[in-house]
């Protein structure tokens, strides 16, 4: 599998995971309501309840006593039925959402983790030069975070820290073998950048501007005493 295909697969997984994280509980509930068998009877009962309340409000309880009490009894009965239906509807939605979460874990998260474990060390792209980053950072970019642990061990065993990457130090000097960024590191960088972009957009453009609270009485009084 070439590096471009690996990048595309990783990108698809990342986009799917991001989209899933953007799905709010309200949206999930809205989608679930579309397939909920309790939703149509509940909406019908709610409509009936509102019409009964309206009629009861329009007539006098003294003049139309019989009709008013009949409606009232119906309303009491409807209240119980609506609460039961609501309970069932919420239970159904909860089950569906938990099933959806399980499905995303099995369908997206787990395969992505396995993919990263399988192709995590594959070089996605080569760095423009071997001297862009220090050799220690080059080793991490090339081999992943495990290099931090294995680097010193390799140094003890082979005499240099990046044994897996290079056959000789001379090749690095001559720029024959170039360092690159592995898939694991690239995915981590992509997730960090995406979350930072999300934070920036949310903070600067979507979040409601906070207004400075008026100074409390305590602070004003202390300020006055300080002035004295």
């Amino acid at each position: 599998m070439d590096s471009f295909t690996v990048v595309i697969i990783a990108l698809v997984f990342t986009v799917l995971l991001q989209l899933n994280s953007y799905l709010s509980d309200d949206l999930k509930n809205y989608i679930c309501n579309k397939f909920n068998p309790y939703f149509p009877p509940l909406s019908a009962k709610l409509k009936e309840q509102t019409s009964l309340i309206e009629t009861n409000n329009s007539i006098s309880a003294q003049d139309n006593y019989a009709q008013w009490t009949k409606n009232n009894r119906k309303l009491d009965k409807l209240k119980k039925e609506i609460s039961e239906l609501k309970e069932n509807l919420l239970q159904f939605n909860r089950n569906k959402i938990s099933q959806w979460n399980k499905l995303t874990k099995i369908g997206i998260t787990l395969p992505f983790i396995l993919f990263k474990l399988w192709k995590g060390k594959q070089i996605v792209y080569a760095l423009p030069s071997n001297k862009v980053f220090p050799s220690m950072i080059n080793g991490i970019l090339n081999n992943g975070f495990l290099f931090l642990v294995l680097g010193p061990l390799n140094w003890f065993r082979y005499g240099h820290v990046h044994h897996n990457v290079l056959s000789s130090d001379k090749m690095v000097e001559e720029n024959v073998l170039s360092f690159g960024v592995s898939l694991g590191i690239w995915c981590w960088a992509l997730n960090t950048v995406l979350s930072t972009v999300e934070f920036i957009v949310n903070q600067l453009f979507l979040k409601q501007k906070e207004v400075a609270p008026p100074p409390s009485k305590e602070t004003t009084t202390t300020a006055a005493t300080d002035q004295k």
Partner: protein, 290 residues
């Protein structure tokens, strides 16, 4: 038995009443009940008994030492002891004033307890430790939630703006110039700057820029903290809040909370640096493919 006339009886009664009132009347009776003046009830608290005993012993010592000028050292020691107690009392008063400022009325009994402990123990170590512990808590004064919310909003906005400016106005153009590899340059730079565009200098220049940018960010952050008198990590970080709940002395690390705050500050700087490195990697990838 000669009987008194009605007028005499009335006079005697009037005199008795006047005598009673002149002696204090109702108030003296009230004092007797409440245990103040002329009370037969004991008003001494068990907490007061020890200092009294101490004072008595001090008096005895002074009586013993006063006629004998040959032993001045004991006197000096006593003076020192009194001086230290005065210092402690000043500390307690200061603590009381601070607590009053926080409108914590329930501490009055606690102060008397501290005072008694202060008098009880000779080395005052326990009370001093307690005062120390409370003083460390005083540093985290309660903050108005609306002000804290506004402060957090300002801090987050500052962070977002700093990252955005760094990415758009430095890292992106610099990365383009470093990785252009024969592509035509948009900007015509003088030859002396061409050395800086060498990829081998990239990390050095990038790290220097990060240092300058982070120090500017922290100066701005501290200015916001100074205006609102709020320590951001102290009031909004969950880890710090959890560590603050551990009582002093349980963990054998002195000033654990301060150390955690310092560690989190370093982590904050490191995370800013790592975020920028991630952006560099992603941008380098895009440049490498296109």
């Amino acid at each position: 038995m000669n009987e008194l006339s009605e007028a005499e009886k009335r006079r005697i009664l009037r005199e008795r009443r006047q005598k009673k009132f002149s002696n204090g009347g109702g108030s003296s009776r009230l004092n007797k009940i409440t245990g103040q003046i002329d009370s037969k009830l004991s008003t001494e608290s068990p907490l007061d008994s020890r200092p009294n005993n101490l004072r008595k012993s001090e008096k005895k010592e002074s009586i013993l030492t006063a006629p004998n000028p040959a032993i001045p050292s004991i006197n000096n020691n006593n003076k020192k002891h009194i001086d230290t107690s005065k210092v402690d009392n000043v500390e307690i008063n200061l603590f009381k004033q601070l607590a009053d400022m926080q409108n914590n009325g329930s501490n009055s009994d606690l102060f008397s307890l501290f005072k008694s402990l202060n008098n009880e123990t000779d080395d005052n170590s326990l009370s001093k430790n307690l005062l120390k512990a409370t003083r460390t808590d005083e540093k985290t004064t309660p903050v108005d939630t609306a002000l804290l919310k506004y402060h957090n909003y300002l801090v987050n906005t500052l962070k977002a703006k700093t990252i955005l400016i760094k990415w758009l106005f430095f890292i992106l153009p610099y990365l383009y110039l470093v990785t252009r590899n024969g592509r035509p340059s948009i900007v015509l730079l003088p030859k002396m700057f061409n050395v800086l565009l060498d990829p081998s200098y990239f990390f050095m220049i990038f790290t220097s820029f990060e240092m300058v940018a982070t120090s500017i960010y922290y100066q701005k952050l501290q200015a916001i903290e100074k205006i609102h008198n709020i320590n951001t990590l102290d009031h909004s970080n969950k880890i710090v809040k959890l560590v603050a709940m551990i009582p002093e002395g349980v963990v054998p690390i002195p000033n654990l909370k301060g150390k955690i705050i310092l560690l989190l500050q370093y982590w904050d700087v490191l995370s800013l640096f790592l975020t920028d490195i991630c952006f560099v990697l992603i941008m380098m990838g895009i440049v490498a493919y296109y």
